[in-house]
Symmetry: C2
Subunit: 435 residues, 2 copies
């Protein structure tokens, strides 16, 4: 019998990060980094792993969505799926009834992305390559076939995408060697969580510089006086040559963003991230005009390629922050990377949480080797949490991500962690409930 997908299992797994306020910001004071974990199995016992990152409550809704979409994958012939993951992505995103619940946004879109990513993990394992390398070895024609151009053509046609990828083909081999030798730049958010005290902030800032980072990020937006004090502490700790980005996690309206950032401008912030609603394209454009030369960054909550297209068309962002688990999976992220390259805007992926570093590094590295061909102004976010639970954790050295070499998308969580942190029945949670 032809090999087919025999099961799609999904697991609600939550890590109690809020107990130490790791990950705390102005919008998310007490996140519990969590995931709707996705595991595909084939009839020959091959596996593909993916996950939808969440921050605690509501993960059960994401799990329900993955379960609903799973019926479109179970029973499918594996060879066909792996030959054309774009067709699966279009089918999951385009189901004429489920589409009503998006379209192409929120819970159902993220669930589709989790499944699509698990299929890509399976594809990369089967090819014996890390995902970044699998994609970087595709021809321009193969890559363009991954993208749904329906809503993108007014900004990027298939032919323009092909031209862009063909131009980038020239230096692929040389860039791959550079990547394997030197890794990919990282920046760190570890010092800047809002729930950390001043002493911890200063200490972590100094450690970041000592560890080789030239860009760190601080959370802002809860209290202006606190932000001024914390920026002063951070600037004093890192000196004038380390860039400090700040991140408001959407707490402001447009006029608030402009006013508040005016008060922080003396500390020379590198970018302001999520100054307002991620849906507010025109608002980001207004903030960018008002605050230049401070850069504007967003993306972790930008729900699809149509929104990224407009952020670029409107000149609303200096930095595109893709997220591996927000949009409809690898396919839609290829579209976003192509759009960013077309508009010559650098991509600095959102990461942290649980598994986001592991997954998104593949997309950034693929971008460097085969799409934008550049590291200028680029860095992948890095946060030192929860990597120990992954079978192929990220490796950081001297402020850089080393290129993963194991086959797959690095999404697999150790079985023991899935059991221990399973919500609400795993021992890490049932103990709390009983306490």
């Amino acid at each position: 019998m032809t090999e087919h997908i025999s099961s799609v299992e999904t697991i609600d797994v939550r890590f109690p990060t809020s107990r130490h306020r790791d990950g705390s910001d102005a919008m998310n004071p007490f996140p519990d980094y969590s995931a709707a974990y996705v595991m595909l199995r084939t009839s020959t016992d091959a596996e593909g792993h993916g996950l939808v990152f969440t921050v605690g409550r509501g993960t059960e809704i994401e799990v329900a969505a993955v379960r609903s979409l799973a019926s479109m994958v179970v029973g499918q012939p594996v060879e066909e799926l792996l030959r054309d993951p774009g067709a699966l992505a279009r089918r999951l995103v385009g189901d004429s009834q489920i589409r009503w619940l998006g379209p192409e946004k929120g819970v159902v879109h993220m669930a589709a992305g989790g499944i699509v990513n698990a299929v890509w993990d399976l594809a990369a394992r089967r090819a014996g390559k890390p995902l970044w390398k699998l994609l970087a070895d595709f021809t321009p024609e193969q890559l363009v076939a991954q993208v749904d151009f329906r809503y993108l053509r007014d900004a990027l046609t298939q032919d323009e995408a092909l031209d862009l990828l063909r131009t980038a083909s020239a230096g692929r081999a040389e860039r791959e060697q550079r990547l394997l030798a030197d890794g990919y730049p990282a920046y760190t958010t570890t010092p800047g969580w809002l729930g950390y005290d001043d002493e911890k902030l200063a200490r972590l800032c100094k450690e970041a510089v000592a560890d080789g980072y030239d860009l760190i990020k601080l959370k802002v937006g809860a209290n202006l006086a606190d932000d001024v004090r914390r920026m002063a502490i951070a600037r004093a700790a890192v000196g004038p040559n380390t860039r400090i980005a700040v991140d408001a996690n959407q707490v402001w309206g447009v006029p608030d963003a402009i006013g508040w950032m005016g008060e922080l401008a003396d500390f020379n912030p590198y970018w302001i991230e999520e100054p307002t609603s991620p849906d507010d394209i025109l608002g980001h454009a207004a903030v960018r005009r008002a605050l230049a030369p401070i850069k504007v960054a967003t993306g972790e909550h930008v729900h699809n390629a149509v929104m990224f297209k407009q952020l670029l068309q409107a000149g609303a962002v200096d930095v595109v922050q893709i997220d591996a688990c927000r949009v409809g999976g690898v396919n839609e992220n290829i579209a976003i990377l192509l759009l960013a390259a077309k508009f010559s805007v650098p991509v600095c992926p959102h990461a942290g949480g649980v598994g986001l570093c592991e997954l998104v590094q593949h997309l950034a590295m693929f971008d460097f080797v085969a799409v934008s061909g550049s590291l200028d102004g680029r860095a992948i976010e890095y946060v030192d949490h929860l990597h120990e639970h992954f079978t192929d954790p990220v490796r950081i050295k001297g402020g850089r991500y080393l290129a993963p070499t194991a086959p797959g998308m690095s999404a697999q969580i150790h079985a023991e962690a899935l059991t221990a942190f399973h919500f609400p029945d795993g021992p890490q949670w049932s103990a709390v409930t009983e306490a």
Copy 2:
């Protein structure tokens, strides 16, 4: 003991409308009109009803989301909830963990809207008024207090909203009398479903004119030759004086929309609805510039007030189509009505499906009495499906909605229908499964 919310029940109810292709369009060939039905009960056995409209598969995800949010409502004191539904809306939409799954969009936002609407239904029942009248009797200050202005201030401040409402206060009593006497204009989509044959199209077009409608709507976008033929049939059937709107349900990209509509321009279409992705604000603006004087309409899939704000700021729409069940409930729709009034753009609500006519008529009538104060260019969509299942169904006469007079938001479905069409266990579905 203080009266409190004792339970939030949610029911997956689906009507097999796809069997006759009622509701068929280019994006939704076989919808089964459905709902995640929401019923609040208080400790004194008072009830509030709401629903989240869906089109079949995936309703179970919406049900899961309502269940997850329900814990934020159960146990709450009723008096406090009814005194400030805006606080509940902000709490449901702003939960710092669940917010990650939106924010303010898709499955979780619609679930919040379903619960908020059920609270408003309870409030209106308790006040002994239909919802439109309850809202129209609020002071400008009370109305403005319903709105979360955080992301809206660059387009509409609280003071501007107050001014606008105070100006509209003058004619409230007179407009209420007109509404009660004459009703509110309707338009009909009944003739134009894509799955209907030419004979049925012509017959239903003529019936619509005979029934008093001066605006009908046809679905387009699946096949250009078919659309040209169907537009010719419809135009011949209704004559030159009845307006014909067309609706592409998002199947086009921006260049396709402009090209395709060029081929239909000779038939004098009144508006083109959903020419492309509902997320594409700049795309709608480009389509509008290219196709004027054909109007551009959208809104049934526009996921929150931030998106409506930008559609208005960008001059992207001639017609704002609010939906009672897409955004975060009555509160967010008040914000959208205020934005539309500020930009002097008429609101023509999306309806049809199941219950959408029943719910949204209250918002349009409130808008006429207390916000925009106008009927110019305004009409509520009407489709003659499934009204028999409601305890307070819409009443249409001479192409107009008669104002509902029963207390509440008209959202209640008969208990027998909830049982019969419960998915997958109700007799209407188990019979199919067994066949």
